[in-house]
Amino acid sequence: MAQHQINYTQSGGLPVALTTVDKILNWGRSNSVWALTYGLACCAIEMMASGASRYDFDRFGTIFRASPRQADVMIVAGTLTKKHAEFIRRLYDQMTEPKWVISMGSCANTGGMFNTYATVQGCDRVIPVDLYLPGCAPRPETLQYAVMLLQQKIRKESANKSQKPKRLV
């Protein structure tokens, strides 16, 4: 007696699923976007809230990692000071390809209200950014939506493309 019923109306009657290499690689990548813990200022509170149980990033496969070598996405959450710019670049360089960057909040996007000598006027002066989130600070929903957009972006990319050297910034 058969323990498992096979649905012959699907998948051409075969108990297999067909896909492409691109699709399965991007499926894996987009559903395990591990984020680097990168809280710099008050946006970090919202980032922490996004990771906690109410908004629950784990269900997207986004798990915060404390090491750049295990991370796929860097969420720049907060004000980037000029003193720190050197270190954000170093951590970005230590992340393994493929890697993405989400710039979270006004300060990381443009320097925000800190139009001063000590603040980097947008983290895209130092590292290449994929997604900019507006808000001061953005709600956890916004960050969630950004991760969903990033997943869509990853799924659109070709998985096995030759890795071009990234432009300077």
Binding site: A85, E86, Y117, G122, R125, Y132, L168
Partner: protein, 273 residues
Amino acid sequence: MMRPYTPKDNVQAKAYYTDRFWVAPKIPEEAVPEEGLYAEDLAAVKAKCKVLNAYIQRGQLVIYINPEDNITALKTLIEERWYEMLSEMSAVDFLAERGGFEIFYQILNLNTARRIRVKCFVDEHQAIESVNPLYRSADWAEREMWDLLGVKVNNHPYLKRLIMPDDWEGHPLRKTYPLEGDEFAQWYEVDKIFGKEARDIIGPENRDPARVDRYDTERFARLGHEVPKGAPAEELKKIEEEGVVTPVHYQEEEGVFLVEKFNKAPKVLDKRK
């Protein structure tokens, strides 16, 4: 007894046309009383070094001394009068008015809860002796004073910048330092990470919050109205005029390899059992 009447008309509107750099009225200075703890404190300092000026302000004794006497005066106040705690010390920029800095030491006697402010004036390039051997809290305070105002401190154990990076040029808390930074500050991170030759590629900072950039619509979009990077102008216009909303798209909707969409509909009851 009635308070003297001061006319208060035009108080609200006055803020709009008065000088932004309005000088605050001076807090009244009273003479040091003949007797009491402060008189004894002042006498103890006067016995050891020259006092230029002394008065009571907001109930606290202020003593002006020469900058060479700062160790002598503070040591006397610690050993003879038990002012053992340095609450705060820093300098005030008077370069434009008097060509120097006014250094103040706010000290506290924990037994009598009395405070004294010891002040001295140094010229722009004049160094002052470190009070770190007397007060441990002066360590970082003097480093901060050097970092942000550029007042040199002699015989400090580790005089290094406290807040700004070590290779910074200039002292940002001076009144002559521009808020948006000088050329060094504006290119600091670019020069340090990529080198000076990358300045042309990266371009100057956008310090104008009202500037509209050609790339704004490509790089920023309203939530729910996202457009792909480099979208043609017609597409942007269509989105603006017709309010086309980018649908929130869940990957489960199309059906994903190995993922079964969760369907809770069969479990919802129409009525209570």
